[in-house]
Amino acid sequence: MKTSAVKKQTPSQTIGPYFAYGLTPQQYGYDFDSWVDHDMVKGLNNVETITITGTVYDGNAQPVDDAMIELWQDDGVHKLFGRYGSGTDEGNTFTFKTIKPKSVNGQAPFIHVILFMRGQLLHSYTRIYFADEQQLNETDANLNAVDADRKYTLIAEKKGDSYVFNIHMQGPNETVFFEI
């Protein structure tokens, strides 16, 4: 049953440049406890962990040094959340330690990305798919909703035991963002 909304959504506003001591305090060396960080597998034993690294690029192909990246994955077994700011690592990269989610209902496995930064009035959503899931990636309904020549922007490359997922806000390699 659908019912119509009776209240207007609270409008979004930018995260701005100064979020670090509030949202990612320990990563940036502030004296306040973080409840979440890049390590999404804390407390999990006997799981095969993967690393996902990447860089967020602006329309001039410059690394964004004040983005906040959140990952959420839920394959019915593991519900994992992570958060990292792009202001502390060399090259303004982000890094997450997690596990590769399982395929659910025949879909290609993926991780949701929620992206915030100064200059975004509204956060954006994208997804990380995995290059070594070629077969499922080819038949996945959501990946196939994307123009064939932009699909690659959603697929993390495998390099050794880590995956690389760069995010381009604009330009010829602009990442596909989703309406969620």
Partner: protein, 235 residues
Amino acid sequence: MSITTDSKFDIEVQPPYLDEAYKSTILRAPLQPLVVPKKKDITLSGPLFKDFKLGALDHDLTKNSVKDGEPIGERIVVHGKVTNEHGHPLPHTLIELWQANSAGRYVHKVDQHDAPLDPNFLGTGRCMTDAHGYYKFYTIKPGAYPWGNHPNAWRPNHIHFSLFGGDIASRLITQMYFPGDPLFEHDPIFKAVPPKGRELLVSAFDLSVTEANFALGYRFDIVLRGKNATPFENL
């Protein structure tokens, strides 16, 4: 029985990605149209906070980082209700907060504004909504501060809020403003919100929570989008 909301961002009240008056959007807004996912996903869930442990002073920014005295400025109490678009309260919603001190200065290392830091004020905190969707926290009223968007640009006084409802569609980062601020009409971040949405960002003075001889009260209700009732129905 299920209730679903069309969880799109409501363009009547939500700002666009690109708004040239706010200059940083020009190189950071996605320019291609968003892709609409084909199927609803089992993974349209999100982190839940039912068992989340807050620190004892997380909700009191006037106390959670004191070194040798009280923070300087006007003590305030902020409260409100978090609901979904149907008006149903959202319990166990985590709210994270950060703000400038009373002089308009952020603790953040890149804030170069020539205004004093307050050794007794970090300007960050957290609280949770209770079983009825209510939240409340104490802080110091933040000052206005300059920024580089255009000549003589100043941000109106505001507190940054970050919230999680029950699914990732409900994720919200916003800013709470104070009533009657003369800087509203000069602020491209506030004005990027369509006129219908602007008043939703402005708190109201609230005598009912104002504490005698202690702190002025403000009310700020928050409405999260999202479809946390039945994420599975169309699989």
